[in-house]
Symmetry: C2
Subunit: 137 residues, 2 copies
């Protein structure tokens, strides 16, 4: 079965990661940017913040959507989103890269279809028929 959709979105829970890495916002930014590149995405910009006393939040805006991360070093936990559009980019490559770099012992993931073409057609009262979908899985 072929599903036509504009984007694919991986929601990932990373457990029991290396806490020192999760608390290093420079390193997290580096890994997140590299994760975008590994997936064949084009980085537009990135923005990372350190929180007091712990934790890093950050986003990499890519031409094909975004990657985000929020870390709780005190629990070894990180919440990661990998949202990409287009057949040229594979968000699972970002996932595998980050899993290794953050030393996650356990992960849970869910892939969600974003912009399902059938729904866009239906909910626009069939005004938009000529949708050039960018991903088919």
């Amino acid at each position: 079965m072929k599903v036509e959709q504009l984007g694919r979105h991986i929601l990932a829970e990373f457990y029991n990661c290396d806490s020192d890495i999760l608390n290093d916002h420079k390193l997290i930014e580096k890994y997140m940017t590299e994760a975008a590149e590994v997936a064949n995405a084009t980085v537009v910009t990135s923005n990372f913040h350190m929180f007091n006393p712990w934790g890093v939040s950050g986003v990499v805006v890519i031409q094909e959507s975004h990657l985000t991360i929020h870390t709780w070093p005190e629990y070894g936990y990180a919440s990661i989103d990998l949202f990409t559009c287009g057949d040229e980019v594979n968000p699972w490559l970002s996932f595998e890269y980050l899993k290794e770099k953050l030393k996650a012992e356990k992960t849970e993931t869910e892939e969600v279809s974003r912009g399902l073409v059938d729904r866009i057609r239906k909910h626009s009262n069939n005004k938009h028929q000529d949708i050039k979908f960018k991903v088919s899985v």
Copy 2:
């Protein structure tokens, strides 16, 4: 039943919105920032981009996580994520605000629990017991 979790994440599909609004990155940035404020979030920074020939991508980093949007004005469609931590912030207020401002005729949403406390405990081999969860729904 009380679920202990660090964050809540709304994935929203906006259909048949006003295409002119979806293509106006200044306006989208304004609405997204206001949506953060309406939810009682603290804006850290925001970053928005216009794509050629159509579409806006943007992120509002908030102290309590992030809001993101990707728009396809040519289809009247926008893909929105509202991810917040803490009991003080209500992402559904952002959702309602954006639904009105983007003039979405139809929306679909899913709320996902992020950082479930039981799983963090379990997958850290019970190393992390003293988790101060920030959201209970």
